[in-house]
């Protein structure tokens, strides 16, 4: 995946985003505050004011309950990879693949001066997942209750069409399963057993991966995404996939 260099990018302003794209995010309770790099990075903040103006009208903001999502406080990541280790152990991920990984980049902060930054990535559990759209056997699907993009391994014929369609490089072919494997927010291994956090979120010593229900105003993810003034962004919004993994700083 190409890593965009946010720091250096000029904010092109929300005007340069097609209005259809903006409406989609408005429906999610978010308002677009900026577009970077020709729309490959998009920043959002809470649309609280918009909804405030519509008081009294019941708005169905989030399509799932719980609407699982992750907010990644990117600048706190130290690449200790305890998240990756926990994911491998919990979900039996082989050495040649990953469900989550850490990307690294150098941000220029002055002449010949660079600042290291780490960026965790995983499946975005997109609201309009390209992987689901292209799967010929419906082996991959969006769970109607939680919004988690899941795999039904025995339906997978290993054609890898979904791998090619995913804009986030979030899938790999699992030789043992003879099927595509990917992050499922630890649904089978943890959430369905009553755990509140994914393995990666629970293992992170730096509190980078905040996991929870975006439709619950008491949850940490809701509070972070809806905090006034906080800039939250998603990766590669131009694909129209509408990620449920958000990035922020601080």
């Amino acid at each position: 995946m190409k890593i965009e260099d946010l720091e250096r990018m000029k904010n092109e302003g929300p005007e340069s985003l097609p209005s259809e794209e903006r409406r989609k995010f408005l429906k999610m309770g978010l308002v677009v505050t900026g577009v970077f790099a020709g729309g490959s990075v998009l920043s959002l903040t809470s649309a609280r004011n918009v909804y405030g103006a519509l008081e009294g009208i019941k708005l169905k903001k989030y399509p799932y309950k719980p609407h699982y999502s992750m907010v990644i406080r990117q600048d706190r990541c130290i690449d200790c990879e305890l998240c990756k280790e926990a994911c491998v152990k919990t979900n039996n991920v082989p050495e040649y693949g990953y469900r989550t990984t850490i990307l690294e980049r150098e941000i220029p902060i002055g002449p010949d001066e660079f600042q290291r930054e780490f960026m965790p990535v995983l499946c975005n559990h997109c609201n309009q997942p390209p992987c689901v759209r292209v799967c010929p056997t419906k082996a991959t699907y969006k769970d109607k209750k939680t919004g988690i993009v899941m795999m039904e391994y025995k339906k997978c014929i290993g054609c890898k069409t979904c791998m090619a369609a995913c804009p986030y490089n979030a899938r790999y072919f699992n030789e043992e399963k003879r099927a595509i494997d990917k992050c499922n927010f630890c649904f089978d291994t943890r959430l369905s057993k009553g755990e509140k956090l994914t393995a990666c979120a629970a293992a992170c010593p730096a509190d980078v991966r905040i996991f929870g229900d975006l439709s619950d105003p008491e949850s940490r993810v809701y509070k972070l995404v809806h905090e006034p003034e906080r800039v939250v962004w998603v990766l590669r919004p131009e694909t129209g996939a509408l990620p449920n993994v958000y990035y922020t700083k601080g």
């Binding site: 706190r76 990541c77 130290i78 690449d79 990879e81 491998v88 850490i102 690294e104 730096a206």
Partner: protein, 137 residues
């Protein structure tokens, strides 16, 4: 592999021997007897880098600034302490004595300046392909 290790070792010895050269630039009573290679901590997380050279030459510290009050001189001693964690730094211990937001940037900011991560660690230890540390256990 063996040859490369020898080479690395001899470079290290030359570097140590060469220290007399730039110690002249320091205060007279100071000997530049510090490791020229960066120290890499791997406990409690992989991995944090500390560069003596930078702290002596750029930040102008001398040995007594940190040894032995904040850090024992013997390598690896701090890492054995149970409290060698960020919390201790916030309380003014270890690096936190200076990295408090006044003397130097605060310990709870600019994480990746010192944290080189597993990727940074693996890069440093990549003498050749086979020596590369595996992340998965």
């Amino acid at each position: 592999m063996k040859k490369k290790l020898l080479l690395v070792l001899s470079i290290f010895v030359v570097a140590l021997g060469g220290q007399g050269l730039f110690s002249n630039g320091l205060a007279d009573e100071e000997e530049a007897d510090y490791p020229t290679e960066p120290i890499v901590f791997i406990q409690p997380v992989k991995a944090v880098i500390f560069d003596h050279k930078f702290h002596v030459e750029e930040a102008g510290l001398d040995c007594e600034s940190c040894h032995d009050d904040l850090f024992e001189q013997a390598a690896g001693t701090a890492e054995e302490n149970d409290d060698f964690k960020m919390q201790a730094l916030y309380e003014g211990k270890y690096c936190g004595a200076c990295h408090d937001g006044e003397t130097a940037f605060a310990s709870n900011t600019k994480c990746a300046v010192c944290h080189i991560g597993v990727m940074g660690y693996n890069r440093m230890h990549k003498v050749d392909g086979e020596a590369e540390e595996k992340v998965h256990h």
